[in-house]
Assembly symmetry: C2
Homo-oligomer: 270 residues x 2
């Protein structure tokens, strides 16, 4: 479809936002818009400029025959902090504390607005790294994993506490829960292939048992853990994790472990 | 930030795409871009034109003092069919049939590309309807629910097979599975308030037990079911559902129920 610059910019902006981390050849746009390569280059320049100013991300032009343009979402730290301050204010609410000192935040992980911000912040923390797959644990990590996957444009896989009958062969590992119980987690065999780069994403870390389980599951599949990030972690509990994981928030509990004393920014912002 | 039309169009396109189903006042954009209201109106006109041409959705301008602009995603049927044909071709693969005639499609529901299309298609099927919350069942429905929620810009809630200890009070209902077992499903009480309009989204329907359970759960919360949609349904099994649900695909099984005979488009495309 032949169109004016203004219309091209609208369509191209939408196209790039929907295809992050993918090299798009300039001839593709030349053909799509029936425009000269030089005009397309100028369009890309305008979008790159504005994406940076608007904190949307970086649009890079790759020169040469196999060249093209690639958009990688990236939110700068100050913009991320704006959202995080708003989030921690919302989470600092006595009504969020449940019997046993548990902390209610499912509404956040079920809200597209929050998920877009959280996904963007985590994707930006691993900006430009080569990630093939996001791994998470059912059920509460799923929405976060999907949000991150959406910004990095890679698939996500879901580890289950029990192997589901309907899914074919699985690989399973045992892990120790916070209550010293030994449990099993499993992932469908054809969900991963050897040598893939994995980003582990989960909702909350108390003792670190689940995270340790996922770290060994990655090894079982002969894959590589590129990063591990949780939405929240309990601050004054010992997390026996031999991996430099990151968190978005730290939940400080009272000495008796029954109440939340406060919420702080997590290690992702260090 | 003061900027040229071309740059404004890029930023405004991104802004609208990130804020579907939300009325944005023109003064907001006037302030954001330090531009005259007439220029902003022209910008909106260009974007509305291109969003329609590019099958992104409808941008509506609301006149008057409390007026503004609202973007609702909508993919036209022929574009949706293009994707669906590509999807059913991918799904028509002998290797997807697992012991017992189960059908493997988790990779589709774990892929951001597919989820964007599926979410957009379902959101478009309920275009312009007043939906407050998406409801789904753990775990396989979650990614679809999130994808739809993202296009309708409403939260989604997750029904669990067992009440999770960490979530406070729950409301539960019993339902009958395909194997005539009686099971319980539960939802956290503060996930819904009375009188909300619910769109139910789930991955697959065999006998309809799960769907029936969710339909009664909606009633238990004094809410209203606006629609119910599944990714796939088993075609030659009787689904005892007293509700006009929709499906994206129908999976035809062989007479002995152990194999997949074919995949067809579901009732959403009737």
């Amino acid at each position: 479809m032949k169109m004016k610059r203004s219309h091209r910019l609208v369509d191209m902006t939408h196209y790039l936002l929907n295809n992050p981390y993918r090299t798009i050849s300039l001839p593709f746009f030349v053909d799509r818009y029936q425009a000269a390569k030089s005009s397309i280059s100028e369009d890309v320049g305008i979008i790159a400029e504005q994406f940076k100013l608007s904190n949307i991300g970086i649009v890079e032009t790759i020169a040469g025959a196999s060249g093209g343009v690639i958009f990688r979402p990236k939110v700068e730290k100050d913009k991320a902090m704006e959202y995080m301050n708003q989030l921690t204010a919302k989470l600092t609410d006595k009504q969020r504390i449940l019997p046993g000192g548990y902390f209610y935040f499912s509404d956040v992980l079920g809200n597209p607005y929050d998920l877009r911000h959280i996904g963007n912040i985590i994707a930006s923390a691993y900006y430009g790294q080569s990630i093939d797959v996001i791994m998470t644990m059912a059920t509460k990590g799923i929405s976060m994993a999907q949000a991150v996957a959406n910004f990095l444009n890679v698939p996500f896989v879901i580890v289950q506490r029990e192997a589901q009958l309907t899914e074919g062969s699985t690989v399973s590992v045992t892990y120790v829960t916070g209550n010293d119980e030994v449990k099993k987690m499993a992932l469908t065999k054809n969900n991963l292939s050897a040598d893939q780069n994995i980003l582990i994403v989960d909702d909350f870390m108390n003792g670190g048992g689940t995270m340790n389980g996922m770290l060994s599951l990655v090894e079982e599949f002969d894959c590589h853990t590129i990063g591990a990030v949780v939405f929240g972690e309990a601050d004054n509990q010992k997390n026996y994790i031999d991996y430099p994981y990151k968190s978005l928030i730290k939940v400080k509990k009272t000495a008796d472990n029954l109440d939340v004393a406060g919420i702080e920014l997590g290690s992702l912002f260090d």
